[in-house]
């Protein structure tokens, strides 16, 4: 008993220490005051050295930087907005200390208002607003952590993961998303910091969803976070990251890489909700491999950011693997949500389903970009794709860019997409029952989002509904 | 049901679906002029038996033999079984958009009569059968089973049977989903078709079709086997007392 208590105390204390080493508070002060912008081998070396990483990781970073520099920007998607990214003007490791903490006054009004309307507690507000660097996780997290440990589950931030389980990290890091995959995965590989590392041993069923440090934590919201999740044979786990409340950051670029590996017979669900403030470019690469009879599910919600480009992918590499992607996007004023999903069937008897829901409001633009690919050997595979887009307002824009590449004959591939505004008949029906038009519209929009919200833990769902209500009232942005 | 008169002779048939055995050794002989009924609860293997005999790609016959008019069916492809005189009216006929009922029917009849056969009577025959079965003439140009109601599909199945005049017709749950008028029309169709040279096998869950088409023999199927046989009165008893009675009598549920 007392051992456990000691352990918990130790964990608590190391948590803070950990944080310090990670963010380099113990390192020479002058560096912070330099505020080095831009990325170079020097910066990469600095990151790696401060984290006291093994040489192989450092090598990976340097190699990735070369790839990043040699790769052109994507020639598709919102190339105009992408062109605005100034890589030379970004802090890749840490900001000068004076910039690190801004004052509450700097937080945009719309974000503060949203916090109030959502009823976010004071301490959390400050963290989400980027004012406080740290948010005290509740004790419940630590007791949860104990429970997990007993089952052999590893649930750490990525930096600790690399230190404590180097063997596993070395085996899987970059195995699903190599640095060379795209320009942003290369950048992330070069400068990554933070993220989550999860390993679930064979046969272990993680009953409660693992949330990135109980709702929020600093590491998880890093600019270039790196997440690696491995479910060993027959294991089951549900991971949740992000939060429905808006997150404010002065960093203009968020570029994460998430690798998910579902070994034979395992099952992984990954739920994300991003609500970055509307100055942020959110360019994320997420990919999973599903081995024999494994199941991978992405539940991916995009509410915030200025431009999001994110297409969670599942590679079905083992016979009988199953994949499901539920992608939701809400594009409000000046936002472009370029979201979507990819499924790549490599093994026979695999099946996948993609459901995409998007709402474009005011001058917002929501794009679905997808890939459904069946390799020659993936016989008897099945893909079903359904995209629904709702347009609200005359300036709203919706795009659908699905790609289906089918190299096998005995397969079934179905794709359907619909774009429409809120149906007059539905509005009429509801108003004839006494609802105001606004109430009716909100009800319809909530109904439209229902397939997504019902997959979320209750507290997220409630907050999301409230957020949509605010959006519909036009009180955000 | 004497051996030498056997039209359809099934011996110890075993059928598997996706490696799961669903019919576990059924033997049955149906003579010319006879009407048989197989009754049984859902999942007892009745439909599997019908589909297996017709050569459905998902139903594999793993053991046993089946002969129609002395010829072994099992080496034949489904079209050969059809031309050999076997007919199955499906419980759930598949829709084939783009293929009209008339075009399909003509091809089917032609395949039975042979490539160079005289088809001059086809249109008249087709019209007559449609009207006898209460099928609207407009169905000729509709796509096969595409958007048909349950009852319409069943009528079209019986229409095909009348047109093709098989020697042995298996009717799989033909009564399901029919209202009383449709049930009567369909039953009349079956009775018109039936004569002393052909055989009928009714596969059904309920007894109500048997009020209109009188079976000479009734078999009860459970868990992939024929567990009891009798005359028409057996059907009435089943209607009255349910399948539990058979289970109890045979001790099938012992220990549960």
């Amino acid at each position: 008993m007392s051992d456990a208590l000691d352990k918990q105390k130790k964990d608590l204390s190391t948590l803070n220490q950990d944080y310090a080493t990670k963010y380099g508070f113990s390192d020479p002060v002058d560096y912070f005051h330099k505020g080095a912008r831009g990325v170079s081998h020097e910066v990469v070396e600095m990151i790696s050295r401060m984290k006291k990483e093994p040489r192989w990781m450092s090598d990976i970073r340097h190699e990735a930087l070369d790839i990043f520099e040699s790769k052109p920007m994507p020639r598709w998607g919102n190339t105009n907005l992408l062109g605005e990214i100034d890589f030379e003007n970004i802090y890749y490791f840490m900001k000068p200390i004076e910039n690190q903490q801004q004052s509450w006054d700097d937080v945009p009004e719309y974000i503060k208002k949203t916090f109030d309307k959502l009823g976010i507690p004071e301490a959390e507000k400050e963290f989400l607003g980027g004012v406080s660097a740290q948010y005290e996780s509740e004790v419940v997290y630590h007791s949860m952590k104990e429970e997990l440990k007993e089952q052999g589950i590893v649930f750490l931030d990525m930096d600790s993961g690399l230190r404590e389980r180097e063997d596993i990290v070395k085996k899987y890091f970059g195995s699903v998303i190599p640095a060379a995959d795209n320009k942003f995965s290369a950048l992330n590989t070069a400068v990554w910091s933070g993220g989550s590392f999860i390993y679930v041993p064979p046969g272990v069923d993680v009953k409660i969803p693992l949330q990135a440090y109980f709702r929020i934590n600093a590491e998880n919201m890093g600019q270039f976070e790196r997440t690696l999740i491995i479910a060993d044979k027959g294991a089951r786990v549900h991971y949740i990251e992000g939060c429905t409340a808006p997150v404010y950051s002065t960093d203009s670029l968020h570029s994460a890489v998430v690798e998910v590996i579902a070994l034979e017979g395992s099952s992984i669900r990954y739920t994300t909700i991003q609500n970055w403030s509307r100055n942020i470019f959110n360019l994320v690469t997420k990919r999973a491999t599903a081995n024999k009879n494994a199941t991978v599910e992405w539940v991916d919600g995009n509410l915030g950011s200025r431009l999001t480009m994110k297409y969670p992918c599942i590679q079905l590499v083992g016979e009988g693997a199953r994949g499901e992607i539920l992608s939701v996007a809400f594009a409000g004023v000046d936002q472009h949500q370029d979201a979507g999903a990819k499924v790549v069937h490599v093994a026979p008897n695999t099946s996948s389903r993609i459901t995409s829901k998007s709402i474009s409001k005011d001058n917002g633009r929501a794009s679905y970009r997808g890939l459904a690919k069946i390799h020659k050997k993936a016989e008897n595979s099945k893909i079903s794709v359904e995209c629904d887009a709702l347009l609200i307002g005359d300036d709203a824009r919706s795009d659908t860019y699905p790609t289906m590449e089918i190299d096998s004959e005995k397969v079934s591939v179905e794709h359907e997409a619909r774009v429409s505004k809120v149906a007059e008949e539905q509005l009429f029906y509801l108003t004839s029952r006494g609802l105001t038009e606004d109430e009716a519209r909100l009800l319809i929009v909530n109904g439209f989002m229902e397939p997504f919200t019902k997959e979320l833990p209750l507290e997220y769902a409630v907050e999301l509904n409230r957020l949509i209500e605010l959006e519909m009232e036009g009180s955000i942005g | 049901m004497s051996e030498q008169q056997g039209l359809l002779e099934i011996k110890d048939i075993h059928i598997s679906v996706e490696d799961k055995e669903v019919v576990k050794g059924v033997s049955l002989t149906i003579g010319r002029g006879e009407v048989h009924a197989i009754m049984g609860p859902n999942g007892s293997g009745k439909s599997s038996l019908s589909n297996g005999l017709m050569g459905h790609p998902s139903y594999k016959i793993t053991r046993g033999e089946a002969k129609l008019g002395g010829k072994s069916l099992l080496d034949m492809a489904s079209d050969e079984r059809s031309r050999a005189g076997l007919f199955l009216a499906f419980q759930y006929p598949v829709a084939i958009p783009g293929v009209t009922v008339a075009n399909f029917m003509r091809s089917a009849v032609l395949s039975h009569r042979g490539k160079d056969a005289d088809m001059s009577d086809f249109r008249k025959l087709f019209k007559k059968e449609m009207s006898d079965l209460g099928v609207d003439a407009s169905f000729a140009t509709r796509y096969l089973n595409d958007g048909f109601s349950g009852g319409e599909k069943k009528r079209i199945e019986i229409l095909q049977m009348s047109m093709l005049q098989p020697s042995m017709a298996i009717l799989d749950e033909t009564d399901s989903g029919l209202d009383i008028d449709a049930l009567k029309t369909v039953s009349e169709g079956i009775n018109r078709y039936h004569n002393d040279q052909n055989g009928v096998l009714l596969v059904t869950h309920y007894q109500r079709l048997l009020n209109y088409v009188k079976p000479d023999f009734v078999h009860v199927m459970m868990d992939g086997r024929l567990v009891k046989s009798g005359g028409a009165e057996l059907a009435l008893k089943l209607e009255d007392q349910g399948y539990e009675w058979v289970e109890n009598e045979l001790g099938l549920k012992a220990g549960v």
Binding site: Y401, M404, A417, S420 | S78, R81, V94, G98
Partner: protein
């Protein structure tokens, strides 16, 4: 002999550049420069994801013979149709150079013009100058610029306001043999409340797979003025060693309707781009296409429905049947502009795969820039449904016949959308192709 040359540039002195009046020569020069300046489209990027653009870099140097030959029987048969008044006219086009219009005298009396583009440049200068390059000009891309600079002669069709051309007009285009390059061009103007049906048939080329391929790069511009009704069938049945590139653009004004039927059966490599711009309220465009690929045929088709005006309606239904190692890539875009309110747009692409070596890529795209729309698309890829096959065989129909029946059933609903009077002709083309399935 013409050779594939990805570095090819149009020389300053290419004889085609000197053809036509000064304004035309100057347009040709601009397009020549455009072609020379533009790099080859980068592979992998959008419309070039599945096709190697260098395959269309074939120089215009072949000395093609003056008259075609392969179509002799067909021409004979069509002459008969002409005499029986089943056709409005027959235009033969050999190698985009030798244009002959037959049986068009009666229509000429009604003011209908069916003639070589080189003649029209003189005789109908205003119409030609106003419309030529209006839809396919220098902004379209490298290969469109290539045709624009190098077309030798084309076909011009004009139907005056309130005039109905009852029977279809048949354009019969034959490509030259191995190593030849041709740049056929068509310009059609259908006047207000006028009506026209065109069957634009492309054939010939090279059948010799060991020799250099024949190459055809075509451009079709069609203008449907207010309340006009135009039906356009494009039939590609090139010989087996022929590569073809075709860009089609039609613009229809308010109240006008356009039916486009793209049918692609032949050739080794075929890249076709069909687009209709709905430019006025009440405009309606339908595209019902079919494609049959076998052997190692490679098809790369695009469609565009661009709703530039409100209260417009469009529908696309493309059926693809592939066997052996044939490949089809289909990219279809529906675009609805910000100002185009109350539009309806639908799109469907179904692919039937008959053998295991086939590849089908389908990309149905939507770009919707305003709220007041109703828009949907669907795509499917799959083999013959074994349960359908089983059902037919259960009724005694043999395997091959049952397969044919299902393939035919697959395309019939699309075929049935084509108006009755054209359906028979198209069904004939389709049936010939189905026999080989």
């Amino acid at each position: 002999m013409a050779k594939l040359d990805s570095e090819y540039t149009i020389p300053d002195l290419a004889p085609e550049l000197q053809r036509g009046p000064t304004w035309l020569q100057s347009r040709r020069q601009t397009l020549r420069e455009k072609f020379n300046d533009l790099p080859l489209p980068p592979r992998g990027l959008h419309l070039w994801r599945y096709t190697d653009p260098s395959k269309f870099m074939q120089a215009q140097t072949a000395e093609a013979s003056a008259t075609g030959s392969r179509f002799a029987d067909l021409i004979e048969q069509e002459r008969k149709h002409l005499s029986e008044s089943h056709l409005a006219g027959l235009v033969t086009d050999f190698a985009g150079r030798d244009i002959k219009a037959l049986g068009v005298e009666k229509l000429a009396a009604k003011g209908v013009v069916i003639t070589a583009l080189s003649d029209a440049v003189e005789s109908h200068l205003d119409l030609v100058e106003k419309h030529l390059y209006g839809l396919i000009g220098s902004e379209m891309g490298k290969f469109e610029a290539m045709n624009g600079a190098l077309w030798n002669d084309g076909i011009f069709v004009y139907v005056p306001d309130n005039t109905t051309v009852e029977q279809p007009l048949h354009l019969l285009r034959e490509s030259g043999g191995a190593g030849s390059a041709q740049f056929p061009r068509l310009l059609v103007v259908v006047g207000r409340n006028a009506e026209l049906t065109i069957i634009d048939e492309y054939g010939g080329g090279s059948a010799d797979k060991k020799a250099d391929p024949a190459y055809s790069n075509g451009a079709v511009e069609i203008y449907g003025l207010e309340d006009s009704r135009t039906r356009y069938v494009s039939l590609q049945r090139n010989e087996a060693a022929t590569n073809s590139y075709l860009t089609h653009r039609a613009k229809i004004a308010s109240g006008a309707s356009m039916l486009t039927v793209p049918l692609a059966f032949g050739g080794a490599l075929s890249k076709q781009n069909f687009g209709v711009i709905l430019n006025g309220p009440g405009a309606e465009s339908n595209m019902y296409g079919m494609l049959f690929g076998s052997g190692r045929q490679h098809f790369d088709n695009h469609t565009l429905h661009h709703h530039a005006a409100g209260k417009t309606h469009s529908n696309i239904d493309i059926k693809v049947v592939l066997r052996d190692k044939a490949i089809s890539a289909y990219t279809g875009l529906i675009r609805i502009d910000e100002t185009a309110q109350t539009c309806e747009a639908y799109q469907e692409n179904r692919n039937l795969l008959l053998s295991s070596g086939t590849k089908a890529e389908t990309i149905p795209e939507l770009e919707i820039l305003n709220e007041d729309v109703s828009c949907s698309h669907g795509a499917t890829v799959g083999p013959i449904d074994p349960i359908q096959l089983f059902y037919l065989m259960c009724r005694g129909i043999q395997l091959e016949a049952a397969q044919r029946m299902i393939v035919s059933g697959f395309v019939v609903p699309t075929l049935n959308r084509v108006p009755q009077d054209m359906r028979e002709r198209i069904t004939r083309f389709v049936d010939t192709r189905l026999e080989n399935v």
